[in-house]
Symmetry: C2
Subunit: 383 residues, 2 copies
């Protein structure tokens, strides 16, 4: 957390000298070109680039442009379809089922939330599921799409296994995040966006970079022993496939591990089992020998179906004022509303640029070059 | 947890000699008569009694017949309406808003989930909100109502303040539970039913009875200090209004306290703010100087809108088989599916009866007597 002259970044670049600041429009343009060169339509490329750059703007760099490598590998090797025919395969009342045809999840996600918004206009609420998809980036992006049009937007997804179900030791669940976006009269909207694991891997990456120690209670090995201490070491155990992240609520049931893993399971049943996608052990990584078959869920609620929107806005403002007026815990920096940190980070980075790690920058330059793009994102020799 | 000759109780009566076993039909009949005597219709009385007895059957005694005192006090003093005119005040497509007219939440909840089921049949998904209600007992009861008819049922509610929002110390949120019920071809169904607090108060009550110590991480005082140790002492601090339960994820953000309190907040925004009910600080206890104005949410999903039901059932069985086959953590008793403990407890108690504490039994006898019922639930002099 950093705060200088009104600027705020929930995840400041550490160490600062390993980063270059890039304007978000420049970054999005560059990423978009990469995806066009990898075979996506210009529209789909823009969508993918916008989801990734939005994550970086919001300070969720684990889900930002550093993931381009993974998606491009999936497109070039196996099993992402660059030109998916995304189709509504079932349509019943306020619901729809979409087949993403193994394209990138971002493209299917945006399509699905648009269908969900149209259905919510007509029926007050809607539920749209997606199968045969891939990783869709930050769940919150899709909720925000609904919020921008004045709706409440809910988005959830399954993902490849990384989390231990309660009372077990190995990986069987994804970090299966859920995001809920709620509009306010003026920004920032409320944006709850959380993995159902105790932490996302991205947090351990940040700890590794900062040289911080992982506390006991985040990660176990396959024998069920707690792994704590050096974050870089623990990260390499996770990456080597020898450790599991614990669910929200931690190990066992004493602090609610059954709640966190229960939530992950429910999200998987709706996003994966009900949609016809893969679930649990069967959801694959983007680059594999067969398609990932990720499943997503999108629900949209029309506020006006329940209460006049102006009244809703007034009530939400009162609620937020009340939360902000509570007695702050002595160890806390301040009282935050869900999504406020990410929004403030976005406002800051729209102004001063997105910090891109020099290694990520070099990697993006190389990906572009290999795809025949005669352009560099950042010329590091000049800086 | 106890297991003898195939019998299982997730919350066994401790100490056993302070309890009498009562057949569930006898208990329900007796409770039903109490509510009739307090002015409810016989149908509404049966509903309330069934919700309470189901909680006891499932081993959630904190939400069982020991709560009769509270509801009767609300009916006799202030502010529960014994003969509410429950009305659908808004009806739009797949949504409805119900005014519970300050009646007990159980009655409005059953009505609301029935409306939600009918709408889901027609539109594939539905969302029904309730305002001007009171405490509705276990959230899972309403999900099970949908499950019995083959639907996925989601139920959530706000409740009187007891939980500290992340980075604060005092009480501003309810334990705001959410329940999701998912049908299987044969019972038990999946029933996830969890408070968004780190523990429900009921768990601290059980710890107090068992003489167990409360671990650090469940409760704080209003200065933000951890309260741990003697459960009876901590329980009395909570009851005296001098302590807050922490959200799922615990204190601060390191283990996800922002996630638990974020979930509680989102449930409150939908159940309370969107419905027109009270929220956060404004939700009252059942017995107070003004109505509680609790808000509930009910969503129902028609499985057939997405996938043929037989296929869904097969997929769910595979998923459950896979979870059950995972490597068990050495400290765990076994691998449980959400709702399985409660279901097994119910099967046991349908057979051997519900353990009712002698003090609860005496209290129920007294309540009945004061309402002119010439009958005793259990004659303790005889036992």
């Amino acid at each position: 957390m950093s705060q200088e002259g009104g600027l705020y970044e929930k995840e400041p670049p550490i160490p600062p000298n390993e980063y270059v600041r890039v304007k978000h429009t420049v970054l999005r343009e560059f990423i978009s070109k990469i995806f066009v060169a990898a075979g996506l339509s210009s529209n789909d490329s823009w969508v993918v680039a916008d989801v990734l750059v939005t994550a970086d703007l919001m300070g969720i760099s684990s889900h930002g442009v550093q993931r381009v490598r993974r998606y491009i590998d999936g497109l070039l090797h196996c099993c992402v379809n660059p030109k998916p025919k995304i189709r509504v395969v079932r349509d019943f009342g306020a619901t729809a089922l979409i087949d993403a045809d193994n394209g990138l999840g971002h493209v299917a996600g945006v399509k699905a939330v648009e269908v969900a918004i149209e259905k919510a206009k007509r029926y007050g609420v809607s539920l749209v599921l997606v199968k045969n998809s891939h990783h869709y980036g930050i769940a919150g992006y899709y909720s925000l799409r609904a919020v921008e049009k004045g709706f409440i937007g809910i988005s959830a997804t399954n993902s490849e296994k990384l989390v231990a179900y309660v009372n077990t030791t190995t990986r069987s669940l994804g970090t299966n995040p859920i995001a809920v976006g709620i509009p306010r009269k003026t920004p920032p909207p409320i944006l709850f966006d959380a993995a159902t694991s105790i932490v996302p891997v991205g947090k351990i990456e940040v700890y590794a970079k900062m040289g911080r120690k992982v506390p006991e209670g985040w990660v176990i090995d396959f024998e069920g022993r707690m792994l704590s201490g050096d974050a870089a070491e623990i990260l390499s155990e996770i990456r080597a496939g020898r450790a599991s992240i614990l669910p929200l609520g931690g190990l066992g049931e004493e602090f609610g591990g059954h709640k966190g893993s229960g939530l992950a399971f429910i999200i998987d049943v709706i996003s994966g089992v009900l949609s016809g996608a893969a679930w649990g052990l069967h959801v694959r990584y983007t680059v594999d020998t067969a398609p990932a078959n990720v499943g997503h869920s999108f629900a949209v609620i029309d506020i006006d179906a329940f209460i006049p929107k102006e009244e809703f806005y007034e009530r939400i403002e009162s609620y937020i004022d009340e939360l902000k007026s509570l007695k702050k815990h002595p160890s806390a920096d301040r009282i935050w509303i869900p999504g406020e940190k990410a929004w403030n980070t976005m406002m800051t980075r729209l102004q001063i640029g997105i910090p891109v790690h020099i290694k990520v920058c070099e990697e993006l330059n190389l990906i572009a070059k290999n795809l025949g793009i005669n352009e560099k994102l950042c010329d590091l020799n000049k800086s």
